[in-house]
Symmetry: C2
């Protein structure tokens, strides 16, 4: 198997490493950063400098990129005439996933819908790739010898994206809510009193809130788009989109906090700046 | 001390019972239900049939009612010429609390801002009344011998309402988010797969979600207004109001589920009906 991973960012390079036992993994360096190149080299990926060369070579393409870029990447790959197997593993809504599936199928490729739950996998058991679509079982087989666990879903394309949306719809939106509420308490002058009350009646919540800042600051830049995708799929089902619109607004604010400072008070002060 | 509790609902009657060691507690039966009368009688409260008689008799009025009714109740009490101490212990925004404070002060009464965190108190340690305002310490003293703990906040009127808003802004909005997300997963056909993933990577979340339904169904009717108050105070601080607008929408839907059925699947099916 020859598999192209587009692109080997933090998650993509870990997915590529998990694929290595099953075949040769390539990537396309056009327009990518030096950080991405270093990751690709460390993972031993075969470099292509043009997308067309990469997709001509590949039997399969695995798309791992920020959600807002997923559709454009599928269009670029389709534009090269790629007719192999195309896996989108991004945090997009089921509707976006279905559009991507139609787009790559029109160009002659076969589509598999994916969704990754967990951190970039470095060891077994931390992270699962959910898969849906006719050839989902085939994709799962590529990962049999790596550290990324797979779960094949019954049902049509879109299920893996729905599962991922529901999962992140709690984890990332609840983290954003916790930030917003603690930020409110700070702005209203009752943060210490709130933390004292949490210590009495919500054990663990102070620590959960403190610990979330360092993590959120590193990843907030790509969560805004993911929250917008979830808001859109909630709305598609006639459910309130507000929670995830609010979470998108929180992550947009947190993405501005670009220093590495993870002191909760200082992060909140920056968060509260208009 | 003669203290009028308006009104002895589930929370109000427990607050009245916590006050009994410090004085005589009265209530006003005009327009109240038989359930409320039974609660008031069981708590040994002195009945007044007209609000003016009740407030003429009382040294202090404690307002415990749904947030949407708090301002009108303060206006009614002020309309009787009440000039004692007025405690609003409702889940209103700090801005609403400040308006109520101005209203009762204009009529000659003294205002204390309150916020209750926890269930209706039946035993010590479960529930705290936060208090803010010049005579907050005096109010705290009334509760010294009862099961309702008090916390006097430094700072002006509004702080107790802010503390309560921040606290419920997490607990009730996160419960609403959990309901919305699980409802989404059910609608999208991946609820079982989501619960399986929660069991793997979010231990306790399935049980938390299951357990919340019975509790939410009983109380959803009065949470919508509380969520609107919190949305408004978030907005006052330039923070996203969306989370609590979404939570208000969830509680409005849950309030329709009027049967006592707490099977999670059946509750979610009713919740998902347009």
């Amino acid at each position: 198997m020859r598999i192209a991973v587009l692109h080997p960012g933090e998650m993509g390079s870990a997915v590529a490493a998990a694929l290595s036992p099953s075949g040769t993994v390539g990537w396309c360096s056009a327009g990518r950063s030096d950080v991405t190149r270093r990751r690709a080299q460390e993972a031993g990926l075969e470099e292509f400098t043009a997308l067309g060369e990469c997709t001509d070579w590949a039997d399969a393409v695995v798309s791992v990129c920020p959600p807002a870029a997923a559709e454009a990447l599928a269009a670029d790959v389709s534009g090269t005439g790629f007719r192999g197997l195309y896996l989108d593993a991004n945090a997009v809504s089921p509707a976006t996933s279905e559009r991507i599936g139609a787009l790559v199928a029109d160009a002659g490729a076969t589509y598999v819908d994916g969704g990754i739950v967990g951190p970039a996998p470095r060891r077994a058991g931390t992270t699962r790739l959910f898969l849906a679509g006719e050839r989902a079982g085939e994709v799962a087989a590529w990962f049999e010898d790596g550290v990324l666990d797979t779960v094949v879903l019954d049902g049509p394309v879109g299920g893996a994206s729905a599962l991922k949306a529901a999962y992140a719809g709690w984890t990332k939106a609840s983290a954003a809510l916790l930030t917003a509420v603690r930020g409110y308490a700070r702005a209203a002058g009752v943060e210490e009193e709130l933390l004292d009350e949490w210590d009495r009646s919500q054990p663990g919540l102070r620590d959960r809130s403190d610990a979330s800042f360092a993590r959120l600051l590193r990843t907030a830049w790509r969560f805004e788009g993911e929250m917008r995708e979830i808001a859109s799929t909630m709305d598609d089902h006639g459910l309130p989109a507000d929670f995830h619109d609010g979470a998108a607004a929180v992550y947009r604010r947190l993405a501005r906090v670009d220093d590495a400072d993870d002191d909760p008070g200082r992060v909140l002060d920056r968060f509260l700046e208009p």
